[in-house]
Amino acid sequence: MKRSTLLGLLALPLSAALIAAPWAHALIAARATPQLQVPHGWPAPHYNFAANPVTPAGFALGRRLFYDPILSRDGSVSCGNCHQQFAAFAHLDHRVSHGIGGVNGKRNTPGLFNLAWQPELMWDGSVHQLELQPVAPISNPLEMGGSLALAVDKLRGDASYPRLFAAAFGSPGVDSQRLLRALAQFTGTLVSADSHYDRAMQGREAFTPQEHAGLDLFREHCAACHREPLFSDFSYRNNGLDAAPRDAGRALVSGHPGDQGLFRVPSLRNVALTAPYMHDGRYDSLQQVLDHYTSGIQSSPTLDPLLANGITLNAGQRRALLAFLDSLTDDSFIHDRRFAQPHD
C-alpha cells in the first residue's frame, strides 16, 4: 500500500515530464492508434491501407467524423447513432435503421468490425470498396439525408475541420477523398479478434465442456456458411426466412433472378451483442434464431440446399450452441477507448 503510493508519487512528475515532451506525445498517440494487424491464422485482408496509411491524426479525424452529425443534412444523425460501440457497432433494439427525421430504413444495422476482410459490404454486397461505403448512408434519404458534396461543404466551412484535415493529410484541403479515407482509417481498423473463442483457440483460455460441445455442433451445422475465423464465407445465400422474399436482396445488385432473397452470410462474432437479427431484424433473440434453423425454414426456389432439411438440435445441444455463440463476444473490442466517441 505505502510502497505503491510512493511509487505513484515518483511516477507522477515523471509521467508529467513525459507528456510534456513532444516525442512523448507522438509515442502516446502512436500507441493509441490502431493499425490493421492480421490476427494469426486469418486470411489477408481485402482492403489495403497502402494508399491510405493509418496515422494518428488521420485515425483521430476518422473517429471524430464517425461520431459527428455534421455529415447528415440537418446535423442530427451521425454514423455512431446507428452504429453503437456497446453493440459491437450494431444498433441495439432497432429492427431496421432509424435515420434522419425518425424515418425507418429497410434493413437492420449490422455490427462493424473486421470490415477490411469483407470482399464487399452491405447485406446485398452493393458496396464494393470500404472507402466508398459512407457515400451510401450520407446520401441515403432514409439515413443521413444529405449528399457527399454537402458534407464536404459543411466540413470546409467548419471552424476546426480544415485544420484537422491538414494535420491528417499533410497539406491544406478538405475534399471527399480525404473524408472517405479518414473514415476508412477508423472503420477499417475496427478489428475484433480477442473473444473467449479466440483465446481458447490460442490455448490461453479453456472452453467449458458445454462450450466445446457447442463448437463441435457449430462446425457440424453452421460453419459451412459461418466459416471460421471470420464466421462468414462472405457468400450470398438464402437461409430460408421467407417462402416469397419481400426484399430481393442480392438480386437487386446482381440482376439475377436466382439471387432473389439471398443475403450475405453475416459474421457471428459478437453476435450476442448485435440483436435483433437477420437483414430485417425480425428475430429478437438467439433462441428465436435457433427456432428458425430447427423448425422455421421456409422452402423456396433459392433456399440454400444445406438447409433444405432444417437442422435438428435437442435441448442440450441448443444450450451448448448458445454457450458457444456467447463465447464469440469480444469485451475488449467494445470497451476499447480508441474506438469510443471522442470527448473534446
Binding site: A51, V127, Q129, E131, L132, D175, S176, Q177, G255
Partner: protein, 262 residues
Amino acid sequence: MADRAARLLAAAWLLSLAGCSLGGAPAGLPLRIEISHVVGDAPLQLGNTYRTAAGDSWSAERLRYYLSNFRLRRADGSWFVNPQSADSSRGYFLVDEADGASKQFQIGPVPAGSYSGLEFLVGVDAARNGAGAQTGTLDPARGMFWTWNTGYIFFQFDGHSPQSGDAEHALSYHVGGGGGATAHSVFLPLPAPVEVTADTSAELHLHADLARLFDGAHALHPASLFTAMDAAAAAQIADNSAGLYRIDHVHRLPKAGLAEGS
C-alpha cells in the same frame, strides 16, 4: 478483383511515368479534343423537342458522361496510350452538355508521329471503377456515382418524352459501372493521317449525335424503355451510347495556339 486493380494501377503508374519522359520536358505536344452534341446536323438544344425514326418525341435536360483511356493509333498499327495516373483523375474526362469547358480538353503529351485513329472508353475502366475514393473529375461528390451498386455512372441522359411510360413522362437513361461492368470502347478512324510534330499538333472535333441514342444499333422506344438504372435494363442504351461519336473535322494547331489554351 483487388489484385487485378493493383496490377492495373501499377500499369497506370508506369504509363504516367512514361508520359513525363526523361528530364521532365514533355515528349510532345498536347492534342486537343472538342466535342459538340448534335441531333442530326443541328446542335443539340437542351429542352428542344426531337423525333425518333419511329415518330416518338424526346427532349434532353441533362447529358453527362465519362470518357477515358484515350489511345491514338499510329499508321504502323502501334499505339500512343494517353497517360493516366493512379493518384489523380488525369486522363478521365467528365463531359457535361451544360458545361462548355468540359467539352474541350487535351490529351497527351503526344509524341511526334502520324496518327490514323482515336480510341476511348465511354465510361471508366473496371480497375479504376472498383478502386477507392477518387478526386478531380472522378470525385464521387460530382454525383456521377451509384451507391446502390457502387461504381461510376458512365453515361447519363435525363429528359422527357410524351410517350414515356413514367408518371411524369421522364426519361432516365443511366448506364453505370456498378459491380465492375465493362465500359464500351469506341474507335474512330481519322479521315486523313494527323501529323504531330515538334511544333504542330491538332484539334479533333467530334460530333456526338443524340439522334443515334434512340436510333442506333438498337431502336429505343420511350413507351417501353423510360427508366434504366441497372446494367440489364441499360444494355441497349450502353450499346447506343458508344455509337454516338464521329470525327467531324480536324484542325491543325500550331504550338502557339495550344499555349493559349483557348
